[in-house]
Amino acid sequence: MRAHLLAALLAVSPLAIAPTAALAVMPDEVLKDPALESRAREISKELRCLVCQNQSIDDSNAPLARDLRVLVRERLQAGDSDAGVLSYVTDRYGDYVLLRPPFKAATLLLWVGPFALLALGAAGTVFYLRGRRGAGSGGDTTPLTEDETRRLDALLGKAGPGDTALGKEALGKDGV
């Protein structure tokens, strides 16, 4: 019984979800020509609603979004190409209405920025790792002076020629 109910719910759910996705587009806006209508829907998804900013005009219930949806359909019926409709709207509202910003000089940082940062990070990592490997092999470190060697040996408890006072003290404690 429960399995049946679940199966029924699963069968119904896509139907339940599908109409809500198209809720913003009112029946009176829909064009009779299905090909034109589907083009209008695709274009509407590219255009930002300027009132609610992160919704497309296809999603938004704002009055301006509705006006723009109607406008898009009118332009299509007038015979505009998809690009023509988009440029009609950007001529009035600027590139900001496009949810996918165009690639041009002003948006270069936006498009190239993340890749530039990645490259910078990679270069930094390579540089850092190389530097560490160099330090490990002792490539460019200056060797200890004679005095430093003697003091180090004394501290490590090794007797050497010409022990310092510090060396003797160390030897006296735990050397014998």
Partner: protein, 177 residues
Amino acid sequence: MRRLIYLLPLLLFAGVGVAFWYGFDRDPKIIPSALLDKPVPGFELPPLPGHKEGLSTAQLKGGVTVVNVFASWCIPCKAEHPIITRLSRQEGLTVRAINHKDKAEDAIAWLNRNGDPYASVGADLDGRVSIDWGVYGVPETFLVDREGRIRFKHVGPLTPQVVEEQLLPLARELSRG
């Protein structure tokens, strides 16, 4: 030289800090106008019933004009109305209006109640001309120069600060030059 690399995170942090400092100060609702420095769109709007003049492209040439987009249903429009009135009555500017998606009788009642500082009002019932002007929220105010080009746009209610610091200096400059 090697030491300088330790300054890098500090510099990066400073850079991010500066970006945020300016970024947080900006209102994401304000979108730069695509029409700035472009000629006003070609349009012709009928007058409100009982008024003589509407608004059309031809009226916006030959003198500096303030174009205010308002609606009777828009509360911020009422808030900025004394400032619009001042521009027209005291500063001697020509102020014309686009009445945005309004009922004619509501607009007339609103102007009777709050005063009518406009040289003429064009009734944009369906909001189509407003779209041509790139309007996305009322009130909006434009400054048009003598050649009929849009030189300034303000979205939202005008404030004394915007008027004193931006609109009036530019209007004076355009009237002189």
